[in-house]
């Protein structure tokens, strides 16, 4: 990328973290002028994306970028290092931030939401901490920005200020903070006590001298401690967070926050434990079963939810467990599948959330049972929904098929029959709760008895973003090279 | 028996101390609590004073024909402690005065019901 050629490559990391940070600042300054403020948001997101593209470009050319901020403790620093998995996540998050910003402007204005400035500030801060998580070089840095992400998204969850929102916010903060402090921090300190380092190292930091029992325990603590990955039984925060405005649910609770969770698990699995250590640990199977169980149970719960966003939330919980499952397979196939699924699920799920928001904005409907015949009014929107749903189920020609294919191959390769059965079962269940929505939207007739206001498609600011993400879902099926290349580069590093 | 008589000063100290603490804990009247505190402290003063006493020794003043003196240091120390004790009593009593004017009573059970004293 020539755009940033004049800047030292290491500085790109600082740029990626500080651009959204200053964006937040700018949004705060321009709070009184909504149009300028929104322009600032969009400009920031586009600039950020170009920076991430430059970083991607450097990564493919094998340039190593690192950045040391300061030593928090003697020998333990807050520092950053670019590696392929982080680049993949950063690409997805920064690209979707542009789309979501446009969508959010349409949504927030369309619904006359209050406190829009605070909303956009917190949004930008959250992205800033996501960037820091992507590029963190050690567990300490990861943990710090993990917590910053939790705190900066809390005001977004409680945005509405209603009793329900506050209750949701309390559960959100309660679960995420208590798991991170009680388990994750404990696991980090335990790792430090055993190995004397917190750096992410290809191949892992544990060696033969580390006591197996403790390392196994640490894995459990890590996986449940990273509450953002929503492994059952620490998943309750995700449905609670759905009280937030839809753009928040879309980007943060389908992409940035939850992906930060599974990304952290994947990173810990690859760079702290290492695939070899992982495959020897007894507890790896335990987590694998927990992930399989989460997949099936969350899918079953999703079937019972009539609120569209709640159904999507439980679907998210199930899909996150795909990624955890892939990491716990501890094979190349599994990890590639997980990495791919981070991107695939992001595009698919954000589309679905965008659609939910579009329906809410134009038709003021929140429930699945109200959607009969809505396909006639909003054909484009429902087409996008169909594409997203196909990706969730894992059928061609959508991106979800590719990642699920790798995950299934990985499970077969390691003879993890529980995982195989869970994947198949989950696919069927996914179909069972998405296809009826599509069917009802197109083939059921609208109920005549209720007063039905006529409406068309959502405003363009809402419609275009969801068409873009739906398009990306299809595009990624035909052109999965970029994420595949990044995932493979990561594996090469660690082998 | 020797345990009692050889250390009788300690027994006095211990008994006075217990009496003092008992009053502080059980007394209902705040002035009595201050009195209890005083008895408790006096017991400690006694402990220090008897500690300095040397059997057969006189007051520590240089005089002809005297070779054995009591240790003056604990006595000096306890002078300081007595001053501290008096100051504490003064602060305590002045607090009691202000409590009397604010609550109209210095009986603990009488105001404890009216106010939630933590």
């Amino acid at each position: 990328m020539n755009l940033w050629a004049s800047i030292s490559q290491d500085q790109l990391i600082n740029l990626a973290i500080f651009i959204p940070f200053f964006g937040a600042f700018l949004v705060g300054l321009l709070g009184k002028y909504p149009n300028l403020r929104e322009a600032a948001s969009i400009a920031t997101s586009i600039i950020l994306f170009t920076v991430v593209l430059a970083i991607t470009d450097n990564t493919f050319h094998g340039t190593l970028m690192n950045m040391h901020w300061f030593d928090l403790f003697p020998g333990l620093s807050v520092s950053f290092l670019v590696e392929p998995l982080g680049v993949l996540f950063a690409l997805v998050a920064s690209f979707l931030w542009i789309v979501t910003t446009i969508y959010a402007i349409g949504y927030m204005r369309g619904n006359n939401e209050k406190n829009q400035t605070r909303f956009f500030i917190c949004f930008a801060l959250a992205i800033s901490s996501v960037m820091a998580i992507c590029f963190s070089d050690n567990l300490l840095t990861l943990f710090i920005f993990y917590e910053v992400l939790t705190l900066s998204t809390y005001p977004l969850v409680t945005h509405a200020g209603t009793k329900e929102a506050k209750e949701g916010g309390r559960i959100y903060l309660g679960i995420l903070l208590s798991t991170s402090v009680g388990f994750l921090l404990f696991a980090i300190l335990g790792t430090y006590a055993i190995t004397g380092t917190l750096d992410f190292k290809p191949g892992g930091v544990f060696d033969e001298s580390s006591p197996d029992l403790m390392v196994g325990l640490l894995l459990v603590l890590f996986c449940f401690g990273i509450g953002k990955a929503a492994l059952m039984p620490f998943h309750r925060w995700l449905p609670s967070a759905m009280v937030a405005p839809t753009p928040v649910s879309a980007l943060l609770h389908a992409v940035a926050v939850v992906k930060a969770g599974v990304f952290s698990i994947l990173k810990v699995a690859v760079y702290i434990f290492g695939l070899d250590t992982l495959s020897d640990l007894a507890t790896t199977d335990l987590i694998l079963y927990a992930a399989s169980g989460t997949m099936v149970i969350a899918s079953i719960i999703a079937m019972t939810k009539d609120n569209l966003k709640a159904r999507l939330a439980y679907s998210t919980i199930a899909q996150l467990s795909y990624i955890v499952l892939g990491a716990m397979l501890a094979t190349a196939m599994g990890v590639i599948g997980s990495a791919m699924h981070i991107a695939a699920h992001a595009f698919g799920k954000i589309t679905l959330f965008f659609v939910a928001g579009a329906i809410y904005t134009t038709a003021h409907k929140k429930l699945v049972s109200e959607l009969d015949g809505i396909g006639k009014h909003m054909p484009l929107t429902m087409t996008a929904f169909t594409i997203g749903a196909i990706s969730m189920i894992g059928l061609p020609p959508a991106a979800g098929f590719i990642s699920k294919w790798y995950l299934l191959l990985g499970s077969l390769e390691t003879s993890q029959w529980v995982a195989v059965i869970a994947l198949i079962l989950s696919t069927l269940l996914n179909a069972a709760y998405f296809i009826p929505i599509v069917y009802a939207a197109y083939f059921k007739s609208e109920p005549n008895d209720q007063k039905h206001q006529s409406h068309g498609e959502a405003p363009l600011m809402i419609l275009i973003p969801l068409l873009i993400t739906a398009g990306m879902t299809l595009f990624m099926f035909f052109n999965p090279e970029l994420p595949l290349a990044l995932a493979k580069q990561m594996l090469e590093l660690s082998l | 028996m020797s345990l009692i008589f050889e250390h009788f000063n300690h027994w006095v100290v211990v008994i006075l101390m217990m009496i003092g603490l008992y009053i502080v804990i059980t007394a209902n009247n705040l002035v009595k609590k201050v009195v209890g505190l005083n008895i408790f402290q006096s017991a400690v003063f006694l402990m220090y004073i008897t500690m300095g006493k040397v059997v057969g020794g006189t007051a520590p003043i240089l005089a002809e024909g005297v070779t054995q003196y009591s240790n003056p240091l604990p006595h000096v120390l306890i002078l300081t402690a007595i001053v501290v004790g008096v100051a504490t009593t003064a602060v305590g009593l002045s607090l009691v005065l202000r409590i009397k004017s604010a609550y109209g009573t210095i009986e603990e059970n009488e105001f404890q019901n009216k106010e939630d004293v933590i």
Partner: protein, 501 residues
């Protein structure tokens, strides 16, 4: 000329200023004079910290009487560090107090307030720098008597009973220390701390010494509010004037903790206290019980000052926990947390004081909707609160990190886990206030629309503390090295006793 008297100046300056303030008898002039003198103490403390950083000690024979006959002032890196904490907090609280106290204490009593404040500071500094066990008791009582007075100055009449209760408990505690010191003197014939240390090692485990240890530990535990001897603290903190609470929370218990460290490590020696008497188990259990019980009680309070007071008792538990681990890292964690907790609690109590200044109440209802009306105060509260919780990039995280590392170093995984779990209570009780401030509408009856931000003179010291919370949470080199030096001084003090004279 000052150079050679540096060690005694932190006591002398406030002691000289205290009567002057009463003689001047004009509130503004009294405030100015106090601030000048206390500010000078900060400057001197900085000098003392840098002078002792290399592990040496400054010794000063009071009145020219050589120890062990005369009283010795002795500054090493441990007490210099605590002294700096105390004088910095004292200065900032004094800046804050100008407006805050004027609204809570009767006008003609203001010079008396400043006088008592200075006396209290003189006593606290005296405790820190003295090298004489009996002298320590005297300074302890000077500071305590001044504290009782300060607590009783508030307008709410409940402060009187709180002060009285504090007086009774405090006097019992101090007298226990006096008894203990007497026992030590009885056996060793000296009161100089280093002398004591040497001679105790020679006769250790004698019954008199054991009894002395027991009395001193109980007495100090009352003073530092170790669970379950903490009952005086919540009442005193709740009803004292806001500035006094901020001052006490940042200094009084911290100095008492220092007294415990001094007795345990320098005088008795860690080997005797922990290896022979096995005190660490008792202290560990009490510290953990205090952390859990008081954190839990804090979550149930509706008076925010009481809530923070219980939180303080819990935080004392963390500090004592670090001591009970008896290791360099553990002691470093304790000393760090003495400093860090002073920063966060003083900031929190100042914020609460600011709310009281405007709302006239510290009940949680008064906080509703303040996020908009007093944005600076409430954001200060939020940041300091995050620090109590131990969120990264604040000092609270640093303390917690060291404490847990110290526990893990000894393979004590259970304690490490409990410490982390206990910090979740802080999420609940701090979260309660933040939620009220930002996500609840103001209560109807108050003239809520008239509420505005407090004067800048109150905001500046508050925000200085808040910024310090963040700064020392990021750049830890200064605090960690000072705390490590202090911990080394304490640990060496107990092992190198013979060589010091």
């Amino acid at each position: 000329m000052f150079e050679q008297h540096l060690a005694v100046l932190p006591v002398l300056l406030p002691l000289i200023a205290a009567p002057l303030v009463v003689l001047i008898n004009k509130p503004r002039a009294a405030w100015l004079l106090s601030t000048l003198f206390v500010g000078a103490c900060v400057y001197i403390s900085f000098g003392l910290v840098s002078a002792t950083m290399d592990g040496g000690a400054l010794r000063y024979a009071l009145g020219g009487w050589e120890p062990p006959w005369g009283i010795e002032m002795r500054v090493d890196s441990a007490n210099a560090f605590v002294l700096l904490t105390v004088s910095v907090i004292a200065t900032l609280v004094l800046l804050f107090a100008k407006e805050s106290i004027a609204s809570e204490v009767a006008h003609k009593q203001l010079p008396l307030f400043y006088s008592a404040y200075l006396l209290c500071l003189a006593g606290l500094s005296g405790i820190l720098i003295t090298g004489d066990a009996f002298n320590l008791f005297v300074f302890l009582e000077i500071s305590s008597l001044a504290t009782y007075t300060l607590v009783s100055l508030a307008a709410d009449r409940r402060c009187l009973t709180a002060a009285f209760r504090y007086l009774v408990m405090g006097t019992i505690g101090a007298t226990f220390i006096l008894i203990g010191v007497g026992m030590l003197y009885m056996k060793t014939g000296t009161l100089n701390m280093l002398d004591l240390a040497e001679r105790i090692q020679a006769v250790e485990s004698h019954r008199t010494i054991n009894t002395g240890l027991a009395f001193i530990m109980v007495g100090v535990s009352i003073k530092l509010a170790l669970f379950p001897l903490h009952m005086w603290l919540p009442a005193a903190y709740s009803f004292a004037p806001s500035a006094v609470t901020a001052f006490l929370a940042g200094t009084a218990t911290k100095v008492a903790i220092y007294v415990m460290l001094r007795f345990v490590f320098t005088i008795f020696g860690a080997g005797y206290v922990f290896e022979q008497m096995n005190m660490e188990i008792i202290v560990l259990v009490l510290a953990l019980a205090g952390i859990f019980q008081c954190s839990f009680v804090a979550t149930t309070q509706s008076n925010i000052k009481t809530l923070l007071a219980y939180s303080s008792v819990a935080q004392v538990g963390y500090i004592i926990l670090g001591v009970s681990l008896v290791s360099l890292t553990g002691l470093t964690a304790s000393l760090l947390h003495i400093f860090n907790h002073a920063l966060m609690k003083a900031a929190l109590f100042m914020a609460v004081g600011a709310v009281f200044y405007r709302m006239g109440s510290v009940q949680i209802i008064a906080f509703q909707g303040l996020g908009r009306r007093m944005p600076w105060t409430m954001s200060a509260f939020t940041i300091a609160g995050l620090s109590i919780i131990g969120v990264p990039l604040t000092v609270g995280f640093i303390s917690k990190w060291y404490l847990v590392t110290a526990a893990l170093e000894q393979g004590n995984w259970l304690v490490a886990f409990l410490v982390l779990v206990a910090s979740l209570f802080a999420v609940v009780y701090i979260g309660k206030v933040i939620e009220a401030a930002y996500f609840k509408e103001p209560s109807e009856d108050a003239d809520a629309t008239k509420i505005k931000e407090v004067p800048v003179s109150m905001l500046i010291p508050m925000w200085l503390l808040v910024l310090a919370n963040i700064y020392f949470g990021i750049d830890t080199s200064l605090t960690v090295s000072a705390a490590t030096a202090g911990a080394e001084a304490l640990l060496n003090g107990s092992s190198l006793v013979g060589g010091v004279q």
